[in-house]
Structure formats: C-alpha cells, structure tokens
Assembly symmetry: C2
Homo-oligomer: 222 residues x 2
DNA sequence: AAGTGTATCAAACATTTGTTTGAACGTCAA
DNA sequence: TTGACGTTCAAACAAATGTTTGATACACTT
C-alpha cells in the first residue's frame, strides 16, 4: 500500500519530477496563505499532478508541509550561517546587514525562497512544526541579535531586557510583512521591491541604532 | 422567510437574548482564531443556541463577523477618542500612555474586549471588513501617532519617513501579539498579565523615545 | 378561539476538505 | 513473454463546513 514512498523519500529526494514539482508548488501555496488556507487540490493543480500524489509521495498534507520546511531551510542554509557568525566590521554595520537580509528573506516577492515567509507565518498561525522552526531558525537569529545588542550598548542588560531589545528590532521588521495590507492602505507609496525593502531596512536600522545609542548613553551617564 | 431579522436588526439590536449571546460568543471565537478558523457550530454551541440561529439573526457568518466588529468597536469608543485628541501633558508621556493603552487592548486576556485582537488579526489575515477597520480604527491611531512623532522630533520629516516612525512604534507593540507563541518559547519569563503588559509597554516607550530623541539631535546637529 | 408573526429547533442539504481505492501504465529483470 | 514493482490517474469516501428547510412553540391581536 505505501510502496516505497516513506522509506525512499529520503533516498531519492528530488529524483522524481512529481515530487519536486509538488515541493515547489506547495512552498508557494503555503507561503501565500498559510498551512490551513492551502488546499491539496490547489497545490496539485498548480503542479499539474493528480490529487492523490501528495498522499502517495509524502503521506499527508502535514508531512508535505514538514518536507517543504525542511527543504526550504536547507536551501537558505548557504546564505545565513556565515553572516550569523561573522564578527568582523563595526557592530552597527552588522546590524544593518542583518536587518536588510532578514527583511529580504521575508518580504522579497520575486525569488522562490519561501522559508522567510513560512517562518513569519508560523509565528502568527503556529502548527506542530513551530518548535522545530524555533530551534533551527529563530533561536539562532535571536541569539545573534542579542549579542549584537550587547556590543552596541557597551554593557549587558538583564536577560529579559536584552530579549526585549531584540524583540523591538525584529518587531519593526515583521510589521512590514504582517501588516502589509494595512500599510498599503495607510501609505501606498511604500513599495516592496528591492529598493523599497532597502529603504525600510535602512529606516529600521537607523531607528534601532539611535535607540540603542541613546539608551547606552543614558545608562552610562545616569 | 427572512422575517424581520435584517430590517429589525438595527432597531432592536440587543433586545433578544439569543442575538446578544451570539454576538458575545462570536467575538470570543473570532478573536481566538480569526474568521476562517471559527465555525458557526462552535459559536452556537458556546452560546447554547441552535446552529441555524446565526443565519436567522444575522443572515450569514460574514454578516455576523461584521456585526461583531461594529459592536465591539462601539464598546471601545468611550475609551479612546478622548485620548486620541488629548493634547495636554508632555508628548513623551502621551506616547507612553498610548503604547500602554494600545497593548492592553490587544493583549489583555481577561476582559471581553476583542476589538483590539480582531483589529490585529485583520492585519495578518484580512477579510472584506479590513477597509472599514482601517478607516474607523487604524487610521485615526496612525494619524495620532504621526502628530506625536512630529512633536517629539521637533520637526516634520517627509511623509513616508514620518509613517515609518509610526510603523516602528506600532510594529514593536504588535510583535508581542503576533509572535506570542514564539516569545513564549524564546523567553518564557515574559508574561501577559497587566504587570507584564506594563513592562513591555514601558520598554517600547523607552526604546522609541530614545530613538526619536537621538534622531532629532542628529538631524538638528548635522 | 382563531390568526399572525417571531423565535427556536432537529434534520437535511450542497460544497469543500484530506484521504483512500483499485485499475491502468510503464520499466526492467528473469 | 511473464511477473513484479513504482508511478499516475479518475473516482469515490468520510468528515466538516455554511446554509436551508419545515415543523413546532410562544406571544399577542382580533
């Protein structure tokens, strides 16, 4: 009944055309509307395969979702891990680069890299995959941001306060993703192409660096 | 067939017990999981009424949702409009009060005031009701924030830049709502009771005021 | 008492969801 | 050629969804 799909899935991976097509289209559909809004029929229609293919190749919609996360995470691996450990250059510049890179991965509509979007979606509408995402993707970035904040402040605040600093920075970034429909209505001039993302990232970097600098000064002075 | 429900809805409003019960339970359910995740059967079960009641009293699930938004908005009316026009007191203090009030309305789990949550949900998962919410609730707050930022900066930046300042502030606030599942995993010590909300609000106010002050100084000095 | 309109209910309805089934097709080894 | 295996497909399935229906009970008027 279940052929070789489960066992061989990890062996052949993308050998089969159907399987690869499903993986890509599923990534697209999941990134668009989240896990629940996505339908297997829509995914299969776009992938031009039979509706039963998902269950044959992945077992279920949920396991397909997990496979998409795993796959897209592996795709983005070459991008980040270097940046997440890079300690060269002034910390302010590293923060700017991090913010821009993060926003690109979440907002850029062009390339088929849905991992950022899937990550952002999981925050709002969690599935059983959230724990894995937190451990593999979010926690490393959070830690990276915390250390950067320590450098920028010049001292290490209490644990909770330090987390809040990171939250303040990431919160600004994610707002552009989560509230993009509202932003489009409040200020239609805000664009989401590479230039627009760059402008948003530049503002967030300026805003955050200014805050950290002023807080640092206040702490040292008082 | 459609009796007096549609016509009389606006006349009697909450006279009927069933209608009122539905309105309250629907608000609760919609706030929990959004419009799509909510089911009419769940709402009716909690309200202890028949499953057909929603269509009888409101016409459809969508119109019930609209009615909930309208009702909960009317409930929160007494709270805000004063605050949104208050020009007394130092602007920094007014910003702190705004942030705290906004976060309370979005995060507080105790009271049955779902308007904040529904508003935050509409941003991420918009329905056809978004336009109305933007006009009636979001735009006034956005405008209020912009004017406050102008006061705090001491000058008026370009339109887009000014909007981004407001986005940076609101983005920090909404992160605590949208990413609460992730926050719980990253830093379990962050609480969502009144004290915890107050602490988060205080941090966001400090962070934002520091940023605005430093940016203002930089602009004037350079 | 009869009549009128409102409200509530259990049941059924049509649609959509994820999933399963059984047949058909192709490939390759014996 | 035969038989086994992996793959694809149309069709059907069971469950859940929003909605509709027809009957029944109640309140109030005439």
């Amino acid at each position: 009944m279940e052929g070789k799909a489960d066992v061989a899935g990890k062996v052949k991976d993308l050998n089969g055309k159907t399987r690869a097509s499903l993986l890509h289209m599923a990534g697209e559909v999941f990134a668009e509307g989240g896990f629940h809004a996505a339908t297997v029929r829509d995914i299969c229609r776009r992938a031009r395969v039979n509706a039963a293919s998902i269950n044959y190749h992945f077992g279920s919609k949920g396991e397909l979702y997990a496979a998409v996360l795993e796959y897209s995470y592996a795709q983005t691996l070459p991008e980040f891990p270097g940046a997440l450990k890079d300690r060269s250059g002034p910390p302010g510049e590293r923060l700017s680069l991090f913010i821009r890179g993060f926003m690109q991965s979440v907002l850029d509509e062009g390339r088929p890299a849905w991992y950022g979007k899937l990550m952002a979606r999981e925050m709002v509408e969690p599935t059983s995959a959230l724990d894995r995402i937190v451990d593999k993707a979010i926690r490393p970035r959070h830690k990276f941001l915390r250390e950067l904040v320590v450098e920028l402040l010049g001292y290490r605040p209490a644990d909770e306060e330090l987390s809040r600093m990171a939250f303040s920075i990431i919160g600004q970034c994610l707002f552009y993703y989560h509230a993009r429909q509202v932003i489009a209505r409040l200020n239609p001039s805000v664009r989401y192409d590479t230039r627009g993302i760059g402008r948003a990232a530049a503002h967030i970097a300026l805003f955050s660096l200014s805050a950290l600098k002023a807080i640092s000064r206040g702490k040292k002075g008082g």
